[in-house]
Symmetry: C2
Subunit: 420 residues, 2 copies
């Protein structure tokens, strides 16, 4: 069936507390890949294109270089006239002019003449080679050439870097600094890149104070909003954080619908589970489609993924480690796809042996924070979903597949590194 993602892929429990069933991570990733696609392009000045994703293949409209030019400082010559030259048998020429980059020599090189030329200057008419400075001696207008220099020598031919019509960069390329240079060389003053996804984050929770506030009474500063804004930025999106919002269904509904109006994707932090004040799942179901609710992922099980008016809405647990994990797996993947980036986890993996046993629970993919010490992988003792400092003390994480109880000491595991 083709509409598996639309109806039978709803793994939520509308009837009560707890998740009756949890979607596998693989199924959620497949759903995202099937239903979230690249945004349209926008055209930017070249100076703003670095790091962006090319929306169309870049084809050279003109050759680089556009004309034959000197590749060395020296003298432009008719190459065959230098045959036989040596330091014992220098051949004398008359210097008929000078050529510098941007200041072409208008005098053609006729037999018996040379033109002094600097690297990068256009080759004068008649010349077909450059004798390098070190192979000449000059006295007044007389230049002695002491080295045979065949036609083509020390000449950069028109189009030797890029011929007109060449594909220079493929679609979906993340532009490197030198790519921007090459685009400049072919006269591309503007470039079409995939538009950055606008992502609104709704931070919810009666207990939350603005980020960085001192804790007061039983209220604590929000950690997720600033963290999610940074993650969205990393993944090429433009974040807007709304809240903290109180746990109020009507207020959340208004904020959600407004966010769907203004953004390309919406993330809701907190209230994502099945408790009495977890309004977000029901609102997504009521306003659109709640395709996933509850995922076999530890510690991000109470995550959800849905759509309102075709736009992805991702429900992230309030616990900050769960929030980070659910972001990277689901929200980040959707944002990376919207922005035309590679959808996979944006971390580098290295393979190393485990220093100690890593215990996991069968039935859920486990996101285990680890340190790398002396080229061995050490699981962090504290694994609670609320212990965000575990992700700052960790070097990265190991994913334990849901069918395993863990890994024995000495097993080779892949560590996804938080830092580049």
């Amino acid at each position: 069936m083709d509409n598996r993602g639309e109806s039978s892929s709803e793994w939520h429990d509308p009837r009560g507390r707890g998740f009756r069933d949890r979607a596998s991570v693989a199924d959620v990733l497949a759903l995202i890949d099937r239903r979230v696609s690249e945004l349209e392009s926008e055209t930017l000045p070249l100076g703003e294109a670095y790091g962006r994703i090319l929306a169309e293949p870049a084809v050279a409209g003109s050759p680089v270089p556009p004309f034959d030019r000197a590749a060395m400082d020296g003298y432009a010559v008719r190459g065959e006239e230098t045959f036989g030259a040596s330091s014992y048998n220098p051949i004398a020429f008359r210097c008929a002019g000078e050529a510098f980059p941007g200041r072409r020599c208008r005098v053609p090189v006729i037999p018996g003449d040379v033109v002094a030329i600097a690297t990068g200057a256009a080759l004068p008419a008649g010349a077909d080679a450059v004798v390098k400075h070190e192979a000449t001696q000059r006295t007044g207008d007389v230049v002695l050439v002491t080295e045979p220099t065949p036609p083509g020598r020390h000449v950069g031919r028109a189009g030797e870097d890029i011929t007109a019509g060449t594909l220079i960069l493929p679609r979906s390329r993340m532009l490197r600094p030198q790519d921007v240079g090459v685009l400049s060389a072919v006269g591309a003053a503007r470039v079409a890149v995939v538009r950055r996804p606008r992502v609104t984050v709704l931070v919810t929770g009666d207990e939350l104070l603005p980020a960085g506030s001192p804790a007061v009474g039983d209220r604590i500063p929000d950690m997720n909003g600033v963290m999610l804004a940074a993650l969205i930025h990393r993944d090429g999106g433009t974040p807007a954080v709304v809240g903290p919002l109180p746990d109020d269904r009507d207020r959340l509904e208004r904020a959600l619908l407004q966010a769907v109006e203004n953004a390309d994707a919406v993330l809701v932090s907190g209230g994502s589970s099945t408790g009495p004040e977890d309004y977000a799942p029901g609102l997504v179901r009521a306003c659109g489609e709640l395709a996933v609710h509850g995922v076999a992922l530890r510690p991000a099980s109470p995550s959800g993924f849905g759509f309102i008016r075709g736009k992805p809405v991702v429900l992230l647990p309030g616990n900050p480690v769960s929030c980070l994990c659910a972001y990277d797996f689901f929200a980040g993947r959707a944002i990376r796809r919207l922005g035309g980036r590679r959808p996979d986890l944006p971390y580098r993996a290295i393979s190393l042996p485990l220093a100690r046993k890593l215990v996991s629970v069968v039935g859920r993919l486990d996101y285990a924070r680890v340190r790398v010490v002396d080229s061995q992988v050490e699981p962090l003792a504290i694994s609670g979903a609320s212990i965000l400092s575990s992700t700052t003390r960790a070097d990265g994480f190991v994913l334990v597949p849901s069918e395993l109880e863990g890994y024995a000491a000495g097993s080779m595991v892949s560590v996804w590194l938080y830092d580049e």
Copy 2:
């Protein structure tokens, strides 16, 4: 001698064309490390701190969490009162209230009572454990507990994530998304980071048109300005590009002195060699100190490094591949040091066998562009310093030490990858 960098480390040839002597790359890197140091800090709102470099160690001013709280949905209890409970022998309690995150229950839990509690809510006075929802049955105000729940169970203790006074992040840390979250949790609304280096790029060359212009006559669009701006941005600096400027000594001098006034470092692109119109080296010598001119690096040999009023001035060759190479080795290192970043090449290296022989020249460190095909390293045939497209077609580069003539086919080499 301690002042080696100041006087005897000048490797330039003031007397004429060509470099009499070339500094080794290692000596130039040592000079940069000795003479370029971190800028002062600036204080930013937390929302702007992601990716920046921490200027001071971050120490927690308050514990996280600031109070004992429920780690599960369920009932707050006096743990010892649940001992002996089982599904065959449930123990009955009176539900005396509710606790939600941000809405503490003001009623203390007295013997025989429980309080309904949601994850994250502060534990009411008197309670010391949370019975999870699944281990209870409720009828009206009566709650049957079916599982013994010792004191401390399912409780997140005050300070269990972070105790007050803990070093949470070291100085010089490049802030991760989750670091920003943790800083928020300890009430750090603002954070001291190393100021971004302001870097002015002077693009010089009579032949140059603005980036992305169509080539006209013997004038070509500048490639280096936009490329350098992107590289500076990548390395954490704030670029300002001036030019293209004509090859005019007075005009370049004015631009150089103004740039030194406004910026933390100045790069000059073009005119860096020993030709008659290469004014930049002489100007740096006249206005300050030209510590290096000419480096044993291929293709970036005509590079220079100096200081004017204590600020680094880097002379980059106009040929775009040389410019990229000299930037990454010298200018980038200075900018990364100014910004408090790790100074080394900001590329990841992988070790792979060479598919073919890689030929090099003894006496210079060689920057050879390569592709990685089927896990083997293929040198690109075209290695000219003007062929910028070699750096867009390449996956990265191999560095051949100056004492080697190259590497034989099959040798294991380190490839520095252009993409992350």
